[in-house]
């Protein structure tokens, strides 16, 4: 079902913590405990190192590509409490913006859907979430901070898709797009945030996990008639949250895994969920016709084949 097209030896001197391919599927970025971020050209099965971005002073936890309409931007966040946005100009990568206003390790970065403009959300172990907005007119970044978003620390942030369907009954009103975020943290909670005016307010608080929430992912809602969020946790569970109005959420436990679950990721269509965790295994999940979640494959790490 899944075939390997490329294996990139990143040459990082330490463990990799995140890897992401850009919008067009042409470039791969990786980040590692060796404090560096690397960018590779992966077109046509190649794996040529384009640049090695050094600017962090601690392990780099996560990276995120922006939508190409803002240029080739790459955001990275690190244990050194910084968020760096890198920009490529004439095939050279350079620091474009550095955000240093977190008091502890920054664990997660994600760019907002392009429809909202160039916006980056960052979740940090100091418990806060920062929303950095670029204003092209003034060529400046503006930071808004959600203080105390999660009591002990925020581990993950994810944006709601821009074309958020609304179900509140006021069909005829022309409503502006609403920015929403979901975040997971060390208080075992998943929280939904909504921008109201120039403030971010907590819209709902989802409580099912019994240990730290490690990752959250808001599904692109194409073809699915409601909001869907996946969250995974130290308690070894993955939970699928669904809602029609972003206020009341129903939870379904996808599966209890053998080890800590670190990572959840939705496909572009929002119909397949990829899960990975501390046991070094990957599994793919999709919903069958009856609406129950099924594991459709299991990629044993490093071997590159699928046991179905």
């Amino acid at each position: 079902m899944v075939s390997i097209i490329n294996s990139v030896d990143t040459g990082h001197e330490d463990m990799i913590h995140d890897a992401e391919v850009d919008y067009y599927g042409l470039r791969l970025a990786t980040c590692s405990s060796d404090n560096s971020v690397k960018v590779y050209d992966i077109r046509n099965g190649a794996s040529a190192l384009l640049d090695d971005l050094k600017g962090h002073f601690g392990p780099v936890w996560q990276i995120a590509w922006s939508h190409p309409k803002f240029g080739n931007l790459l955001a990275s966040c690190s244990y050194d409490r910084r968020v760096i946005i890198w920009k490529e100009t004439n095939r050279k990568w350079a620091k474009y913006y550095e955000y240093t206003n977190h008091d502890s390790s920054v664990n997660s970065v994600q760019f907002a859907p392009a429809e909202f403009g160039l916006i980056l959300a960052c979740g940090s172990s100091d418990g806060s979430i920062s929303v950095l907005t670029f204003t092209p007119e003034t060529n400046s970044w503006d930071a808004k901070k959600i203080q105390n978003a999660h009591a002990i620390g925020c581990n993950s942030v994810s944006w709601a898709p821009a074309t958020t369907p609304l179900f509140n009954g006021n069909e005829n009103e022309q409503q502006p797009l609403v920015k929403r975020l979901v975040s997971g943290g060390c208080d075992n909670l998943v929280k939904i945030w909504k921008e109201a005016g120039d403030q971010w307010v907590e819209e709902s608080k989802l409580e099912v996990h019994s240990d730290w929430v490690r990752d959250v992912a808001w599904a692109p809602s194409v073809g699915i008639h409601r909001h869907t969020i996946a969250s995974c946790s130290q308690d070894r569970r993955v939970v699928i949250w669904t809602s029609n109005d972003c206020v009341t959420w129903n939870s379904t436990i996808l599966h209890l895994f053998d080890d800590v679950v670190w990572n959840v990721s939705w496909s572009l269509n929002g119909n397949i969920l990829a899960v990975s965790g501390g046991d070094n295994r990957i599994s793919l999940w999709s919903q069958n016709a009856e609406g129950t979640w099924q594991c459709i494959s299991d990629v044993a790490k490093g071997q590159g084949h699928i046991n179905n």
């Binding site: 990139v8 990799i16 850009d22 240093t100 130290q234 496909s267 990957i282």
Partner: protein, 869 residues
């Protein structure tokens, strides 16, 4: 007694010319015998001065082992081995005479051991594979000869039973009964590597400890030796491992040849707590060759350990009561040491026992290496238990006072204070204290001393803090470099790093990374899984005295040890990223996306697309396309039918779209939405034409344009606008359809969504033409162009012009550089030099030339470079 260097040990003898490699202390604890190739020396340990008796030897062989007879009856007798001979020395009236010289073996003797109870019995082991037991009263032949296959490296009599004897052969241990020498009682396959040392437990008859090249000491119950009772991992090959006479202690030394750097690995362990050594004996400048407990003296309250090192010094160590306590020894009169908790008694008792109590601190002070750059240690007062240190970095001076509570270092950290006179600001001060406290707590929680690490940390932290202040003073904020070794105070709340992950990227890419299959997690087997916080690394790795606390150390620890001997683990395998093509998981197909068309009439589109689906092997789609073709073509023929309500009309199409959407085949759903849109357009055009002609406007049943925010199955797209960019505008559709009841067309907003999502997929595939085709069917206006625009200034009045005619001077401002006439209509120009002209003229020009006709600009190249990159 002897020269006192420090409270920990005293030097009993420093003699470079001895070249001794065997040492033994007699059973009274008075004499230490040192034996080398050239001479044998005896040192009276009771005497203050280096009173040494030296007796030259004339042998070409070195002394392999030496041991005094352990019984009081023959306390003056010492045995040494030299090559294949066993020599029995007699120490009497300050002279040493050789009473026996036995050719005990045919090859070199590897070990010897006196019987614990019988003063005349000695056992020798040799590389000639035999272990012989001798009675020195009759030395012509051994009383017992134990035959083996492999060479014997050690022989030890049991300390409790007088019959049991253990021998080591390579990695195996044999247990014999001297009454039955034909075959061993037990054969223990103890280690995979060579065993260097054996020692019977002084308390438990059946327990034996073996020290081996494989970095471990194993403890066996000889009555049930199938697997070791427990294993002590020392991190380096163990030369000797011997029980302490008190508690559950064990002392290990590293194999002499293995020694690296300054670490001589002379360690004291508690065998009931094998995670980390209790104490490291620091004093020898080289590896310890031999060590022996000095039998306790009636006039000395401390136990003493005598050691002989390759640095040719004989040291006598006093074993502090707290060390004995660490090894689980509970003396009856412990109350005087155990005063940490008894608050009232401290002051009263202080005068009498204070000397004993401050020993650990004094020891730490004396061991402190005060040569730390940028740091000056001023007052070390073991009576008031304080230390003052001053750190000077450039012009910044920091005075720190460290106060040691009485219970320190047993779980109680010292207190740090920044003293007046320091010129650092409060935030740095608090940062510094935070770091120091954290480090101190870490150390003392393992009963380790912390002064020196803290002082060193203080210098590094200050340096770092000040560098940061200098470099970004404008930010006015303090930033601590989080070094890996001195992790920040809140690592307990930083999640444990991911070392594997998966992400769906772009359209159909699945990016995976993970640990190599070889890696195994550290920690106990009954561990409940991956830890949650970064601070877990410290907890697990500190126990193993790993140098670096990184995630990879956590996973690679075990491999590291193994790979040292064999192939080293390649760095590359740590950091592989695999990229999978997940196309087959989805129904969206790139080939179809390229082949599908949306221009032309509906029948042509359907035919072409059916063919494309057939090529791609999607027979289900072929059927769908054919079905649509049939129903829609029929509709064209039959103009007047009310297709909106017909079972094979709109409802069929709608249910098809729903079907594909529910199957997550966004591609087909979006394509059908476009066809649907096209169909609606056609019928609307027809209807409007009809209604223009008809005298009764406003009754058209074909009005299909929904109001802006159509609710369909609960879906609302707020971004929908009521404008449609089709030819409808020209037909003034608003006027035509008046006051009709719009037939219920569900899902329209949703359809916009499908099309938009499909368009994004095409965009990601960079199928821009196909995307534009789909976007034509969007009700939403595309975003106005926001990029750079070329606006020439009028050459006459210098105002920017957007049209072909200048608005102010009403002339044609743009001249073609080829024909030199005012240009209107299709023109092009270079973005760099601004020259241009009629498109066809420029095309002709640049077919032959690459340079601008007017200036030296390399128009084609420059333009490509700017736009293309």
């Amino acid at each position: 007694m002897t020269r006192l260097i420090n409270n920990d040990y005293c030097i009993a003898l420093e003699c470079k010319d001895l070249q001794a490699n065997a040492m033994s202390v007699d059973c009274t604890g008075t004499y230490a015998l040192l034996a080398g190739r050239r001479c044998i020396a005896l040192r009276n340990l009771d005497e203050e001065y280096e009173n040494v008796f030296k007796f030259p030897r004339t042998s070409k062989y070195d002394v392999g082992a030496a041991e005094w007879n352990p019984t009081a009856h023959n306390k003056q007798i010492c045995a040494i081995s030299t090559n294949e001979r066993l020599e029995i020395l007699n120490w009497r009236e300050e002279t040493l005479s050789v009473s026996h010289s036995i050719r005990a073996h045919t090859r070199a003797i590897s070990g010897l051991n006196w019987h614990r109870f019988d003063p005349n019995i000695i056992a020798t082991s040799s590389v000639d594979t035999f272990v012989n037991v001798w009675d020195i009263r009759d030395s012509r032949r051994p009383t017992l000869s134990l035959a083996n296959v492999a060479e014997s490296s050690q022989v030890r009599w049991n300390r409790i039973s007088q019959h049991l004897i253990a021998t080591a052969h390579d990695g195996d241990i044999k247990i014999w009964d001297q009454r039955k020498g034909s075959y061993p009682l037990q054969y223990i396959a103890a280690h995979l590597a060579k065993i260097y040392g054996l020692d019977w437990s002084p308390h438990i008859e059946n327990q034996i400890a073996s020290a081996s090249q494989d970095h471990s000491v194993k403890f066996f119950d000889t009555s049930n030796p199938r697997k070791p009772d427990f294993v002590l991992s020392t991190g380096s090959p163990v030369w000797r491992a011997r029980y302490t006479p008190f508690g559950n202690g064990m002392i290990t030394v590293v194999v002499p040849q293995i020694r690296r750097g300054s670490e001589n690995s002379f360690l004291l362990w508690n065998i009931s707590n094998r995670a980390a050594p209790m104490h490291t004996f620091v004093g020898h400048r080289d590896v310890v060759l031999e060590f022996q407990w000095r039998p306790s003296r009636p006039d000395d309250s401390y136990l003493q350990l005598v050691t002989w090192s390759k640095d040719q010094t004989l040291l006598v160590w006093k074993i502090e009561p707290f060390l004995q306590k660490l090894c689980g020894y509970e003396p009856d009169d412990l109350s005087i040491y155990d005063d940490n908790s008894s608050i009232g008694g401290i002051d009263e008792a202080a005068s009498t026992v204070s000397l004993k109590r401050i020993q650990p601190l004094q020891q730490e002070f004396s061991l402190l290496n005060v040569h730390i750059p940028n740091l000056e240690v001023k007052n070390m007062d073991s009576i008031t238990r304080t230390v003052t240190a001053t750190c000077k970095i450039n012009t910044v001076i920091t005075h720190v006072k460290v106060i040691f509570p009485n219970a320190y270092p047993l779980g109680v950290p010292p207190a740090f204070q920044v003293m007046p006179g320091s010129n650092i600001n409060d935030s740095i001060g608090s940062q510094l204290l935070h770091t120091l406290n954290h480090l101190a707590i870490q150390r003392v929680s393992k009963n380790r001393t912390c002064l020196e690490p803290c002082l060193r940390q203080m210098v590094t932290t200050l340096e770092q803090l000040l560098v940061d202040i200098d470099s970004d003073r404008s930010f006015e904020r303090v930033y601590v470099e989080p070094t890996v070794s001195a992790e920040g105070y809140n690592d307990a709340y930083i999640p444990f790093p991911r070392t594997s992950g998966v992400k769906f990227c772009s359209v159909n890419i699945l990016v995976c990374f993970g640990r190599p299959l070889l890696t195994r997690r550290l920690g106990n087997k009954n561990d409940s899984g991956t830890p949650r916080a970064l601070s877990a690394l410290e907890g697990i790795l500190a126990k193993r005295s790993t140098d670096q606390m990184t995630v990879s150390a956590y996973y690679f620890q075990r491999q590291k040890q193994r790979s040292r001997s064999k192939h080293s683990l390649s760095k590359a395998s740590k950091a592989m990223v695999h990229i999978y093509d997940a196309t087959n998981l989805f129904l969206i197909n790139r080939q179809l996306a390229e082949d599908y068309i949306l221009y032309g009439d509906v029948a042509t589109i359907c035919k072409h697309n059916a063919a494309a689906a057939a090529v791609a092997g999607r027979r289900d789609l072929v059927q769908a396309w054919i079905l649509i073709e049939i129903t829609l073509a029929q509709r064209l023929v039959d103009d007047d039918g009310d297709w909106a309500g017909h079972p094979c009309g709109d409802n069929l199409l709608i249910s098809l779209i729903n079907h594909y959407a529910s199957q997550a085949d966004l591609q087909m759903a979006a394509m059908l939405c476009c066809i649907y849109g096209k169909q609606q357009e056609n019928s609307l055009r027809k209807a409007s034409l009809k209604s223009i002609l008809s005298p009764m406007p406003g009754v058209s049943p074909y009005h299909t344009i929904p109001p802006a925010d159509v609710v369909a199955d609960g879906w609302v797209l707020p971004l929908l606008k009521s404008t449609r960019s089709t030819s409808l505008d020209n037909l003034r559709a608003e006027e035509i359809v008046v006051a009709t009841i719009p037939p219920k067309i569900p899902y329209v907003a949703l359809y916009e969504y499908y099309k938009m999502a499909y368009a994004e997929t095409l965009h990601r595939w960079t199928l821009l033409y196909n995307r534009a085709e789909v976007m034509k069917f969007m009700a939403i206006q595309p975003e106005p162009y926001k990029g750079a625009e070329f606006i020439p200034d009028c050459q006459i009045c210098q105002t920017p012009i957007k049209h072909s005619v200048c608005t102010s001077c009403r002339r044609l401002p743009f001249h073609c550089i080829i024909c030199n006439t005012a240009a209107r209509g299709s023109v092009n120009c270079c973005v760099i030099c601004g020259h241009g002209g009629h498109t066809d003229h420029l095309q002709m020009w640049f077919e032959r030339k690459s340079m601008c006709a007017l200036c030296g600009c390399n128009c084609l190249f420059e333009t490509t470079y700017t736009v293309g990159s």
